[in-house]
Subunit: 340 residues, 2 copies
């Protein structure tokens, strides 16, 4: 059973998960793998039996579960960081606190095509992925042990992807991750003072000035944040106030998928197909944050290695002005470069 | 002039520093550089004129500044992330806050020998480096614009080192970095409740149980923290309560250099010479935190790339139990492997 442990000084919870039991030798530098043609890939058509049985899939051919013919497929992670069965069993250990590593860890396979990245997918297929996120969130939030559902995508080896076939991951957690907690707390403080949502205020100010806007459509705004940690960090926010991603309307998903497609084509063009992380920031499940928390998507390309000591200090040096990043992306053609 | 910008939601300050003006093309993946023999290295003997004039150096040969013959040499960073001249000029920009990027950015060259890592240095030479940290901190803390002095070391390309010649860096800041702020706040809360330093309590409990202890000597304790973010993350703490690194006694520096040497030899042996970051966590300069903040050194080897989404969520999954890491390090021989 994995364990959740709390750092007694900062209050950050960490998962200690030894499922893929690693010995010191396992950490020796891994050489970059050339892109394969998908031979043996468990996420391709015809290898559905190589993953744990599916939790959800969209199929229009009427075939049964775990057959081919799907467009999006959700399966449990074969090496889950958390276990789904059991009680939290919170307890102390002297000055320390821990609980059982209860949670869900799922993989959203975004396309059957081994050679397509998310950038290559048509908008309608990206929309399917967003619907899969929503369906899983609505299902998992019924489990009252969970406080947060974290959805993220690691694209490329440098961003931590261990399988090259395009996929996202979902982790349902019995705690709220520290970064989300900070955002929620910051947004609450602002609301208490101003009685307005800080994200709505940011969107209003950014649309007025325009210098950090990358793109906009009827339902979303894509921008470079004012104080980004990373060069070309980019956020997509719903234009109207919404706390829970999973409660958004179908029109928002439709326009969000257009915004994602546009952002990925532009960043792939300007930055030459970088490795990146996408993280969905939605409201904590069992808290009343609707008035002031505003869900959004964060895109962080892995361009610089200078980020070493940032882990120890929480301190970031960014060599690119967000105004410059936004201009580069704004001006980038929407014609996707083919290949890389 | 670099700029400090505050994220209005989380309150984190970020440096936007375009000194090394980077264009999108500059981010294309950099191939690993083979280790050179130091040709053209500005940190080697005889090339003192290739750095900005030195701020501090230890020489026993009686020669003047910027000549050879030094053991440790401190110079301004040639591409500083912050500028030393000017006022902070704090101001708002609608919902946002910013100030001028005032600060010091220095490089501590730890040895004249291009081919020696910190692990290779004799304990006495590591002690010299610690004295250089102290001397620079005592000098810079006289400048009341500064709130924090951050000292860190990036070893190896994967840890963000851009020059291979062994060195550390110092950044004096007009703000307290977020991670330090969290630690100080957490330690204060504990102190208010218990009237004891949380680090002292951790040391006491860890020494009693022994399972996470890596090594100890008269003045320091080396341990795997209870809730580490990274596999083989290791902390060295002074055994007796001390807030400011720069106010420690010469005996503590002597024993700390022994602890550092031992930790680096052991981690180099067990993990086969990993890239790593070392960060010194000392008390903020202009705050009264002496009763509850306890300085320490954090060692974080860069072993896993799985850390992608952690940046977006503040959420960490660690595949190694700290008890196992401590045991591996405890049992590692102190005989340094030669070469790599």
């Amino acid at each position: 059973m994995p364990e959740l442990r709390k750092d007694p000084i900062t209050g950050r919870w960490v998962i200690i998960s030894t499922t893929r039991a690693m010995r010191p030798n396992d950490f020796h530098a891994v050489a970059s793998q050339p892109r394969s043609n998908g031979e043996g890939c468990p996420f391709c058509y015809g290898r559905e039996a190589k993953t744990p049985p599916e939790i959800l899939a969209y199929r229009s051919n009427g075939d049964g579960p775990n057959s081919s013919g799907w467009t999006v497929r959700v399966v449990p992670n074969k090496f889950p960081a958390l276990g789904i069965e059991g009680d939290l069993n919170r307890q102390g250990e002297g000055v320390f606190d821990k609980m059982n590593g209860i949670g869900a860890h799922e993989v959203i396979i975004e396309t059957p095509d081994h050679n397509k990245t998310m950038t290559d997918l048509p908008e309608k297929r990206i929309e399917d992925v967003l619907w899969a996120f929503r369906d899983r969130m609505l299902d998992l939030r019924k489990d009252t042990r969970f406080r947060y559902i974290l959805i993220f995508k690691n694209h490329g080896e440098a961003a931590g992807a261990s399988l090259e076939h395009s996929h996202s991951q979902l982790i349902a957690l019995p705690i709220v991750p520290k970064r989300i907690r900070e955002e929620v707390d910051g947004a609450r403080q602002y609301f208490q003072y101003k009685e307005r949502c800080i994200y709505c205020d940011i969107i209003r100010q950014e649309l007025e000035s325009g210098t950090r806007i990358v793109a906009e459509n009827e339902d979303t705004v894509t921008l470079s944040p004012y104080a980004p940690r990373f060069p070309f960090e980019t956020w997509i926010l719903p234009r109207r106030h919404e706390s829970f991603f999973e409660h958004s309307s179908s029109r928002v998903y439709e326009n969000l998928s257009k915004a994602i497609k546009s952002m990925l084509v532009k960043t792939d063009t300007v930055l030459d197909h970088p490795a990146y992380n996408l993280v969905l920031q939605s409201a904590p499940l069992q808290e009343n944050t609707q008035e002031y928390y505003h869900w959004h998507l964060e895109y962080m390309p892995r361009l610089v290695r200078v980020a070493g000591f940032e882990w120890g200090s929480g301190f970031y040096i960014n060599p690119v002005l967000p105004e410059d990043a936004a201009r580069h992306l704004r001006e980038a053609s929407m014609e996707a470069k083919v290949g890389s």
